[in-house]
Amino acid sequence: MAKRVSPPLAGAMSGLRSPSKVMRLERMGCFHASPLSFMRQLTARAVRDDWQFAIADWQVDAQGVGHAVLRAQTGARTYSLVAFFHDLPDELRSDRVIATAWDATFTLFDGVPDAADLARLAANVPVQEAGRISETELTLSRANRSVRLWEKVVSALAGGHQPDTDELGEVGYLMRTTAVYGSGKFGAADYDTISTRAEVAAPFQAEMLTVYLIRWAVTELVQHMARARAAAQGTKAATLDPDIARGLGIGNSTGLGMAPFLMTHPKLINAWISARETALASVRAQNDPDPEAWALVLTLAQIMSAKVATWRTDHPRQQVRDAGLADDLVRIITRLGAGVTTWDALINWAETALTLEGQEWLVSAILEPYAAQLEEIAAEMSVPTEAHRIDGQMTVGALKALIAHHYPWAIAIDWAAAEAQARVWYTSAEKLEPRLGERSEEPVADYEQPLAPGRDIAKLHAMLPAWPEDAPVAAFALANPALRHALRRVQIIAEHPFGEIQDNTIAADMMPIDLLRAKLSFFGAQRFDPRSDRWLRICMFAGAPLPPDLSAQSECRWPYWQAPWEGA
């Protein structure tokens, strides 16, 4: 086993990369999953605490219509995925949030549902936003089949043979979720009501457990339909190759709805980013890396190189990035193969020799040998949701100093320029979802959401010189209520410096997919495939052992497990 890392830096900023380096959208749009990612935290805890999984109920007909209950017994508690499988005509299948029907719908029930619970959920979960769930439900989700793969896999298995792995590799999943709602949405339990439970205290654990169980349910469903079809033909279906099943993840389409989260949760984003940066600093602080750890990262680079070769995207910017990452991995393999130096020297070299994709992959990769020792850092990734009170006794002079320290990038922007305020974040009346409009082309400026902190804090900064240095900001806030949110923001970021994206979030050239990828990387997503500048597809849990196969061995570094189509 590799050497234990240094203790967490306990909030000290020394040794960390600076927020001005890390919190740039271009770099955040190159973040990769790491051992701190929430999917990894879930599976690691499931192994550590010996969670037990079972299919408790399976009432599905030959056409794949019905319901199922899949349980996770975590020790003290049971969580049940209640799945409803539907017969959805092809013309109704849409990934957009305007859809009203799906191939499958799900909720994660807190405990074991009885008949009355199932009846209530059957009336509400299939209609998603049009229904209501309750405090006994933790998430609400839905998924659509991959049109390209589903029928091929069912018919292949029903015909007694395995599906074509090349086709599987191109898609990577049999179903993709189009939303996984949690934390109080549509009547579900708030995160605060479960935050003291160790098994779901880390961020998004209820959502990750939902997706992990959905993946299992989907695997069972495709097998069930193949068996039913074969039985109707008087034949026997093939059993899906376990390696194929493991290699398939759950897809996800994610659009602008997720993007504002990074601006509206600065304390939480700070917790996530600073955890990763603290882990990185702890590893870099080692002066004599264990050769085994060094060799492991070399192996991971070789595996990653094989995986990247299978990635497909039609987005020109991502094509360039993927090609850059592929080249970077060749350089990394050469560098690591030349002999052990130090992690710090390796990262310093990467910053001059690699693209941002390569740099950020390497940051995540050198944490892998120490994954088991990052638990203490991972525990800092959740924060209470309580509101932030303004410190009204802070002086105007102190506030000015904070802005000068944390927001020089915002002050430097010419906000009068049209391209600096080209975009408007707003909420659409049609679907109550976030949208990004063009200020000069659409009548949406009156509906602008407060998602341009740089601009608003620059406004605040411009107002302060008229006030005495020793005046309390309470007086300023009373006289300037329109800037109250900006004042609060500065005080939050002063204590949570990795909570602010140091870029203009309403600029003409801002790429929303960078926001999405940053968040999804912390979930543990893989195969980032932008479909436009505004939405992307990803894969979740690909390579993770299915619940019945979960063990310490199979769980270890599962994102680097290679599927048959990845050179395994």
Binding site: R96, I98, E135, L256
Partner: protein
């Protein structure tokens, strides 16, 4: 009015409060205070959303453009006053007395984060309420009287030497509101939503929106 209360998660109630306050014309920073105050009040089993509705309906005048503004409030609204009190960080020994406050229960969270013990009283000619707050990191509340006072109430916040002897009120994990009050709050919130245009439909938000 339907007598069946609508149950919501606290985060739903807070999000609605934020949007409704903004839709009524409040600045973003004050809308943040509305969200925090309503969430806190609801988490103590008290009628936070109903109180916010009374604030928005009592103090807001339609503007020619179709929006609303809190400019019609006489003096400071409960949220303005609460925010100012919170920013100031202390209550003078002689207490704080406000002549006409709508939605007075929303003042309680601003008092509750101050260290010390305070009495928050409000009343009209018809009803009176009294809340004792032991503020600080783990605030506790003791309530008496009808908390759903209609109209503007005189509010007095005074320091106390001791906490009551009885058990404080229990925390609630859910918010409850009358359906018609919910509809009226959603009406305020709707003012924050941009009507769809052909351009916005065309741009959408991507495959998953």
């Amino acid at each position: 009015m339907s007598l069946t209360l609508r149950e919501m998660s606290l985060s739903e109630a807070g999000a609605l409060a934020f949007k409704a306050a903004r839709g009524a014309g409040m600045d973003w920073g004050l809308a943040e205070e509305a969200r925090a105050s309503v969430t806190w009040v609801n988490s103590r089993g008290l009628p936070g959303l109903a109180a916010l509705l009374s604030v928005l309906e009592a103090g807001l005048k339609p503007l020619p453009g179709g929006g609303h503004s809190p400019a019609g409030v006489v003096g400071l609204s409960v949220l303005h006053a609460g925010a100012a009190l919170s920013d100031h960080g202390r209550i003078p020994p002689e207490g704080l007395h406000l002549p006409a406050v709508v939605g007075a229960v929303l003042m309680v969270p601003f008092v509750a984060h101050l260290p010390g013990v305070y009495s928050v009283q409000w009343g009209t000619s018809d009803a009176a309420a009294q809340v004792t707050v032991r503020g600080g990191a783990e605030p506790c509340l003791w309530c008496a009287g009808s908390l759903e006072t209609d109209g503007a109430a005189r509010v007095s916040i005074t320091p106390l030497a001791d906490t009551p002897t009885g058990a404080p009120i229990a925390r609630s994990t859910r918010a409850f509101v009358h359906p018609d009050q919910l509809n009226r709050l959603e009406g305020f919130a709707a003012a924050t939503y941009a009507p769809a245009t052909e351009a916005s439909r065309a741009r959408g938000a991507g495959g998953a929106d």
